[in-house]
Subunit: 235 residues, 2 copies
DNA sequence: GTATGTTTCAAACAGCTGTTTAAGCCATGA
DNA sequence: TCATGGCTTAAACAGCTGTTTGAAACATAC
């Protein structure tokens, strides 16, 4: 078994997003922008339908409720992104099938590449989606969170496995912590969640994905591979 | 001039928080918890006053409006924290006045120490405040942001200066980026903004500040001091 | 005692919220 | 031609929103 196979099928034929009518798409697009800008609670259906140029009742007709709309807005973007990540992980496992362990930088890039591709693709929401994701993170939408952990929980497991192999000198607990910290940096860097900007004093507020990657990847890799309590760092 | 003096006075006699009446404090406490849990938009004044056990009109009497209440909730916690950070920076500059440069870990700890102290002090809101802060970060409250940059903008400048001295081999741009990334990790780690938890698959959701520091500080220091484009890392 | 200024209270204000209803439109297929 | 089913529409629903009002309760000072 030297050819790694995806352990979950969503990389190939997983839960696909439903096909939406033109009206539904207009609603989704308008809602996406407003949710990002104002948040779920502060965005009214009247604002959405007005901006989308559709009737108010269309939301409850095409989607069941405001909550369901929000879930649809999120999952429409999240599905393709998750699939891209899984493809990257598959490719990574295939690449390092013969090698004893993957390189940390490769694991990092398997997350970064889909994020960059997403940020640069306006058709998939562009940088908007990551900001929407951080809304989901801070506001806590119970139902959406359940959907996520049910359908995509294994994604994290696979990243953990890959990172654990790349950092063989670390305990399981330490790998978990570093993964947590590393993904936090990557996620919030892409989302533009910069505390310094709250003070109006951040010069790096530029949202250029390539620039983000250039500075972020070395930072994260250094953090992930730093020596552990006196032990030497992994290669 | 070997004895560093604070460049801004707020460490000693800066903008102090107003003294609040008992009713006002009850409102602030209730609002704080609800803002953290539900967000500003989803928290109604009736919910706040009900939980505080005061009359509805008390909010508009003691604070001018809901917006002003939110600002008061935030600034009540932020003021003491900012002052603690400035004291740490003063102490750091005094400590390294003779040395050519500060150690990166010391700069990191000058931010971490007040954060830990805050997290452990229920009288000052405990871990609640950092979560409230991340609400401010994601929702963008224009007026509050202006207040922050006006009153506390220099705080970031001083951290940047300290970090720049600790990393003499790096360009100004690179220092800015690393500060941005480093503070992002620290902030979001304390706030508990863990993307992995969205997938229900995070083992490190524990909010113990000491445990956070134990794993986070080495990670951040490694990221900050990592070699720059072929150059060796600073000492 | 009265007068003064501060704080509380119940009630009402106009406006917005998500959702539902029933009538109408319009293309499809028989 | 008529009927069917998908979709849109304006209107109304009950309920909640932040804020204001004027009267009542309160403590303090004279």
């Amino acid at each position: 078994m030297n050819q790694a196979k995806p352990s979950i099928p969503i990389g190939q034929d997983g839960p696909a997003e439903p096909k939406y009518s033109e009206t539904a798409v207009r609603i989704l697009d308008a809602a996406e922008g407003l949710f990002v800008e104002l948040g779920m609670a502060a965005t009214s259906l009247r604002l959405i339908t007005q901006q989308a140029g559709v009737n108010l009742a269309a939301v409850n007709y095409h989607f069941r409720s405001k909550d369901a709309l929000f879930e649809a807005v999120f999952l429409r973007r999240f599905g393709p992104w998750a699939r891209a990540c899984l493809e990257e992980l598959d490719a990574l496992e295939r690449r390092v099938a013969g090698q004893p362990q993957a390189l940390t930088a490769e694991v990092v890039m398997s997350y970064v590449r889909p994020a960059v591709a997403l940020s640069k693709d306006p058709a998939r929401g562009g940088a908007m989606f990551v900001r929407l994701f951080s809304r989901v993170l801070v506001e806590n939408h119970r139902q959406l969170r359940e959907t996520m952990s049910r359908q995509y929980g294994d994604l994290v497991t696979r990243y953990a496995r890959a990172l654990g192999r790349a950092l063989p000198g670390l305990s399981e607990e330490e790998v978990e912590w570093r993964m947590h910290l590393g993904f936090s940096v990557m996620f919030h860097a892409f989302a533009g969640n910069d505390i310094l900007k709250v003070f109006g004093r951040s010069a790096v507020s530029a949202r250029d994905p390539d620039l983000i990657v250039k500075h972020m990847v070395p930072f994260v890799v250094a953090g992930l591979t730093s020596p552990s309590a006196g032990r030497p760092p992994g290669p």
